[in-house]
């Protein structure tokens, strides 16, 4: 599945905010087709690292390469339209219909989406195509984030970035949407990078888990290896929580 050239590559990127190093020298390659999860406590620098990809944050030093090209050399709007982005805050435009929200990226590129294509995208995220004319405030939180995912996919990106995409959702919605995204990742052959503070979510959805702590990557393992005890003390500290919960639940069920 992995090819020689990585889809995404970080080369010694650094970013500081007022003498505090948010990201301190990260080098990392993410292969095409992989589903990577960036896990860490809040303030560990994972969101900052993710935002460097579509240049919502510019690194102080180092470079980020997307499909072999440094992102700094790409035109900003064009780069952002090639990279699907799902926000923790969802960020639907409240004055636009569901359909207009989904079509915004292609519209900015001067293309526009057909009604049928918007319907397809809604079906991809398991929403009724009839919702196209609704306003965002008429949707539930889970439905809104599904629209957010559909919007990220509208430009047919190769790369999907998700910043705490399910953070604001209730557990049932969260599980269902996680599963759907995981399905879309395989179905559309995407490269996906997801930032989360929830190790359980990372273990269940990703094929590669990157643990960040104080601006650096302290563990880079598959979920199976992490569960087998690899990755060092910080990673194992994060894995211990869902493992203890799972053990407790298993005990209760006996």
């Amino acid at each position: 599945m992995q090819t020689a050239e990585p889809e995404l590559e970080f080369r010694d990127v650094r970013k500081s905010y007022a003498a505090h190093a948010a990201v301190g020298g990260v080098s990392l390659a993410i292969a095409r087709g992989s589903f990577a999860a960036l896990v860490g406590a809040s303030g560990s620098g994972k969101s900052t690292l993710l935002k460097m990809v579509n240049r919502l944050v510019e690194p102080d030093a180092g470079s980020v390469r997307f499909e072999g090209e440094p992102v700094a050399s790409l035109a900003l709007p064009a780069l952002r339209r090639r990279v699907g982005y799902v926000f923790q805050s969802i960020g639907l435009f409240p004055h636009m219909t569901v359909g207009e929200n989904i079509a915004i990226g292609p519209r900015l590129a001067g293309e526009g989406l057909t009604r049928a294509r918007i319907g397809e995208l809604l079906e991809l995220v398991e929403l009724d195509p009839e919702m196209v004319a609704r306003m965002p405030d008429a949707l539930s939180g889970g439905q809104r984030q599904r629209v957010g995912v559909a919007r990220a996919l509208a430009g047919e990106p190769q790369l999907l970035l998700m910043d705490e995409p399910f953070g604001a959702l209730d557990p049932i919605t969260r599980a269902a949407l996680g599963e759907r995204v995981s399905g879309l990742h395989r179905q559309l052959g995407l490269t996906t990078v997801m930032v989360t503070h929830d190790m359980a979510e990372a273990l269940l959805l990703a094929d590669r888990v990157l643990v960040m702590d104080r601006g650096t990557i302290v563990a880079d393992e598959t979920p199976r290896a992490l569960l087998a005890g690899a990755g060092g003390p910080i990673a194992q500290g994060l894995v211990a929580v869902p493992r203890a919960q799972a053990d407790r639940l298993a005990e209760l069920a006996r």
């Binding site: 780069l79 435009f93 004055h95 900015l108 590129a109």
Partner: protein
């Protein structure tokens, strides 16, 4: 109050002018505020500076802000040439636009600052350029709040535009100021009602636009906008029809005699075939500057006022010598023509109720000086700032217990009600006789002579037909006739309008 319903329909001209002025000022305010708000949303320093400036402007009383634009524009003539208007529409427009700035700017900046950061991040994330983000996200989401700011600005501006009367711009302030001057409450009420009604209608229509924006019903917004544009268009059509011809503009300071003499002059010019317009309620300093710069064509002024205030003289020659010097000074400094004396004097003097003066044994300002520390003096708003007062005060060593300012009409009332003991009266005022007042003797001749004279703007004075039409006024008006005409508009009951009083005066002196 039956007079109210007959007065209101006569305000059409003022209403149209008021609508045009307010609409232009708000349009200019919007044109300034919106780009500034966009800039402010990109830079906190600009936001602080712009809001600070707009708030500062707001603390300047509207009346003063309007008046300040006269000297500002006058000094700008050095750059833009003599054609730059210094009174009337332009200064009113600029002052009101500055006044309208704050609510629009503040709402726009607040709306921008309160936009959901998640939505703004998403706008960046989907690849919008700065311009696209402004057009597609920030502007539509801020629009209802900006519209609310425009509504507030509109209500303020329509109200404040009544003050434009004082700098010579026709507005619904005309009947208010004229009515205040003569205690003609019907006129005041009519002006206030018309202005308040206009504000309410404008607020309702803009509210429709705001509602349409907030609830995403474009039809409602368009309907409101169409109604606003229709109203402004009608006002423009009404005004455009009347501004074609050259009008002779007659200025009047803010007291009855000035209003009456302006109408007397206006009637003569109309009979001679001129179209005339009035700029009423001008301040003393503004009025003289206005005639000498051609902002108005004709003004009745007083020799002592020019002598002490404009020429800055402190000596006190006899009246013929003073007039000769004034004529020479006007010719030399601005080319303003002095047509001649009207025939009466309207001197400043100190007046008391006869009964009170008698009880205190005061017959002259000398006598007054001894009693002054226990007495209250009232003056019109400019009196205590004038050099004449400073001269009189130091000549007699006057020190009063209290000093209070009143509009001229209320000044006389204050004497009757005992709130003041002495006032700065005018010798041609009908109320001196009607209220049984005495003018105190001025043995040291500290007050100069105040012969009423007709001033013509430099170019206006070169029109022989106009000069011929006004020449008969010279020397024609004795002080008794002027007093009677003044009293006819100032008295409590059976008031005459300025026009009627001017006719009365014309008949009495045989013109």
């Amino acid at each position: 109050m039956s007079g109210l319903w007959s007065t209101l329909p006569m305000l059409g001209d003022q209403l149209a002018a008021h609508v045009l002025l307010s609409a232009s000022a708000i349009a200019l305010g919007i044109a300034l505020a919106l780009p500034l708000a966009v800039w402010a949303s990109r830079s906190p320093a600009v936001a602080r500076t712009a809001l600070g400036f707009a708030s500062l402007v707001q603390t300047v009383p509207a009346l003063a802000l309007l008046a300040l634009f006269f000297p500002i524009l006058l000094s700008l003539r050095a750059v833009f040439g003599e054609g730059l208007p210094t009174l009337g529409f332009l200064p009113a427009l600029l002052a009101l636009a500055l006044y309208a700035l704050l609510p629009i700017l503040r709402n726009a900046v607040t709306a921008q600052a309160n936009l959901d950061p998640g939505v703004i991040e998403a706008a960046h994330g989907v690849g919008m350029s700065d311009w696209q983000r402004l057009r597609l996200v920030e502007a539509p989401l801020s629009a209802p709040y900006v519209m609310a700011g425009i509504r507030t600005a509109t209500v303020w501006t329509v109200g404040a535009a009544t003050l434009a009367t004082t700098i010579g711009q026709k507005s619904l302030g005309d009947p208010i100021f004229a009515g205040l001057q003569t205690q003609n409450w019907v006129l005041v009420l009519a002006g206030c009602l018309a202005s308040a009604g206009l504000a309410l209608v404008a607020d309702a229509l803009l509210g429709m636009i705001e509602q349409g924006l907030a609830t995403r019903r474009p039809a409602l917004s368009f309907a409101g906008l169409a109604a606003v544009l229709l109203g402004v268009g009608l006002a423009f059509a009404a005004q455009a029809g009347s501004t074609d011809e050259r009008r002779i503009v007659i200025g009047a300071k803010g007291f009855s005699e000035q209003y009456i003499l302006a109408r007397l002059i206006g009637r003569r010019l109309e009979r001679a075939g001129y179209a005339v317009d009035y700029r009423d309620g001008l301040g003393s300093a503004v009025a003289h500057k206005a005639v000498s710069t051609g902002a108005i064509d004709i003004l009745v002024d007083y020799t002592g006022t020019i002598w002490t205030n404009q020429m800055g003289r402190q000596d006190n020659p006899e009246r013929d010598a003073m007039l000769t010097e004034i004529v020479a000074w006007e010719t030399r400094t601005s080319g303003t023509h002095v047509l001649g004396r009207l025939g009466f004097e309207n001197a400043y003097g100190l007046a008391m109720r006869r009964e009170r003066a008698g009880r205190l044994h005061i017959g002259s300002i000398d006598d007054l000086a001894a009693a002054a520390p226990r007495l209250t003096i009232g003056g019109d708003p400019e009196f205590f700032e004038r050099p004449e007062w400073h001269a009189v005060r130091s000549a007699y060593g006057l020190r009063f217990a209290r000093q209070r300012n009143f509009a001229p009409t209320f000044m006389y009332n204050s004497l009757q009600s005992g709130e003041t003991d002495v006032i700065s009266g005018y010798t041609s005022d009908g109320r001196i006789e009607a209220d049984d007042l005495v003018m105190l003797e001025d043995p040291k001749r500290a007050f100069p002579n105040y012969d009423a004279i007709i001033l013509l703007a430099p170019e206006t004075g070169n029109d022989p037909a106009l000069v011929a039409a006004l020449r008969p006024l010279v020397g024609a008006i004795p002080v008794e006739a002027m007093r009677a005409a003044n009293l006819a508009v100032d008295r409590e009951t059976d008031k005459l309008s300025f026009d009627e009083a001017a006719q009365l005066l014309a008949r009495r002196v045989g013109l």
